[in-house]
Amino acid sequence: MNKKIGYLIAFAIALAAPFIGYPVFLSKLLCFALFACAFNLLIGFTGLLSFGHAAFFGAAGYVAGNALKNWGLPFELGLLAGVAAGALIGLVMGALAIRRQGIYFSMITLALAQMVYFGALRAGEFTGGEDGLQGVPRGRLLGAVDLSNDTALYFVVLGICVLAFALIVRTVHSPFGQVLKAIKENEPRAVSLGYDVDKYKLLAFVLSAALAGLAGATKTVILGFETLTDVHWTMSGLVILMTLVGGMGTLAGPMLGAIIIIALENKLGDWGTLLAQVSGIEWFNTIGEAVNMVVGLIFIICVLLFRRGIIGEFIALAGKKKPV
C-alpha cells in the first residue's frame, strides 16, 4: 500500500517537474534512472556484478544516432535499433561471461566492454571517433508529435521510462524473476533443483543489456550527440555507484541514486566555487573538473558504511518498527 502511494507521488512529481525545471536535463535524468534500473536487474535481482554496462549504453547510443542521422529512420525505429544493438552485444558478452562465476564474471565483462570501447574509438566513420557523433535529429513521434519541443520530448521519455520500469517490476515478480532470485541466493541449490541456471542468467543479462540500450538510445536522441564518454568504463562505474547509493536489489533505489549522482555531477562545480569562497582555499575551485575523485570518495563511504543504500536503509528501518 505504502509502495503504491510512493510511486504515485513520484509519478506526480515527474509530471510536474518540466514546468519547474529544465526539461532537457530532466529527460537526461530519466534516462540515467532507467539505465540504473536496468543494471540493478542484474546485480540486485540476479547477483551478477557487470562491469561492462557502458558498452550497451554507449553502443546503443551510437546505433540510434546513426539510424536517425544517416539512415533516415524515424524516432521509434531509431530507438528500436538501439535496443537491438544493446541486446545483441549483451547476448555475446553474456554468453562469454557466464562461463565464469563471481569476481571473474565482473572482470570478463569489464574486458569485453573495453573491446567495445576500442572498437568505438577506431570506427571513426560510424562513431566520429574522438569528436563523437554530432547533430542527431530528434524526429517526430509516430510522425505526428514534433519532438524538437523539449517539454513534449520530456513526456515521451517519461512514457518510455514508465513502461520500461513496469516491465522490470513485472519481471522481478514473475516466476522467471523468482528463479533469478533463487540463483542469487544459492546457485548450486538452484542447479540441484533442476533449473538451467546458465539459460536464466543469460536471459537476465540480455534483458538488462536491452534496457540499458534503450536508455542509451533515448539519451542520444535527447541530447542530439553521442561521445566516447558513454562507452568508457567510468560510465560502467557510475551506474554501479548510482545503484549502490540508491540501494541494490530495491526497485526504487537505482532511480533515486541516478538522480542524486547526476545532480551531483552537474552541481559539483558550483558547490566547489562556493566552498572556495567560504573557506578561502583556492583548490576547491578545481573540484568541478575532478568529478571522479568525489565519485570515488562516495564509493568508499558507501561500501564501508552504507551498503544497503538509501532506500535499502529506509526499508530496513521500516521493517524494524513493525511488530514481529
Partner: protein
Amino acid sequence: MEIFGYPLPMIMSQLLLGLVNGSFYAMLSLGLAVIFGLLNVINFSHGALYMMGAFLAWMGIEYWGLNYWAMLILAPLMVGVFGIVIEKTMLRHLYKLDHLYGLLLTFGITLLVEGVFRSFYGVSGQPFQVPEALAGATDLGFMVMPNYRGWVVVASLVVCLSTWFVIEKTKLGAYLRAGTENPKLVEAFGINVPLMVTLTYGFGVALAGFAGVLAAPIIQVQPLMGQNLIIVVFAVVVIGGMGSIMGSILTGLGLGVIEGLTKVFYPEFSSTVVFLVMVVVLLLRPAGLFGKER
C-alpha cells in the same frame, strides 16, 4: 633477413617491447593473484598504485634530490605502506562480505587516488630520464637493444622468480599457502594470520609500485597511466587463472609477446588482441589456462 616479408630487426624490437609490457603484466597479475589468494579481494586499485609508484619515483628525483636507484627501493616501500593503511582501515572490514564489495571499494580508491593526482598534475606526462648507467643501446648483431628495456625485463624476471621461490619453496611461503587454503586452521597453529594478510596486501601492491618505477622512463608518467593497463591485466588474470604463481608470470609474459607480435603483423588489433585471446580461452578452457576454479 626477413620473416613473412617483415625485417627481422623490426620484429625483434617489437618482441622486446612485448616482453617489456609482458613483464609489467606479469608483475601486476602476480600481485593480484597473491592478494586474491589470501584476501579473496580483486584489487582494482592495482593500476592506480602502479601509477603512484611511478609518480613517487618522479617526485623523489624532481623534489627530494634522490636518484633512480634509491627510488626503485623507496617508492615500492611507500606504496606498500599506503596499501597497509588501506588494508588496516578499510579492506579489513569487508572480508566477511561478498567478494564484490572488495572490488567496489578498491574501484573507489582507484578513482580517488587518480583524481587526487590529476587535480595536482593534470593529464600531461611528466618527463622522466633513463638513469645514466642504463642509457644508450647495445648492438646484439640481429638488433639494437636499448639497455633500459633489457634491464626492465631482467629486473622484473628476478623479482617475479624470487616471489615464486619464496611462496613455493620457503617456510614463510608454506604459511602463506596454508593461509590461502584454510586460514582458521593456520591461526589455530599460532600464526598471526591477520598480520600475514596485511603484509601480503602490502607486498602485492608494492609489486605494483615497483612495476610503476620500472615503467616510468619508458611510459609517460601521468595520473591515468594505470587505467587501461589494469583492464588488460584483468584479462590476463582471466586467461591464466589465479590459482598458480608461475601461471601468472608465464601468462603475463606470453601475452606481452603476443601483443608485441600483433603490433608487427596486424597493428589494428594490437590494443584488443589480449581481449581476443581471453574470448578464445573462455570458449575452449573456461577455467583459464592454469586455473582450477572451485
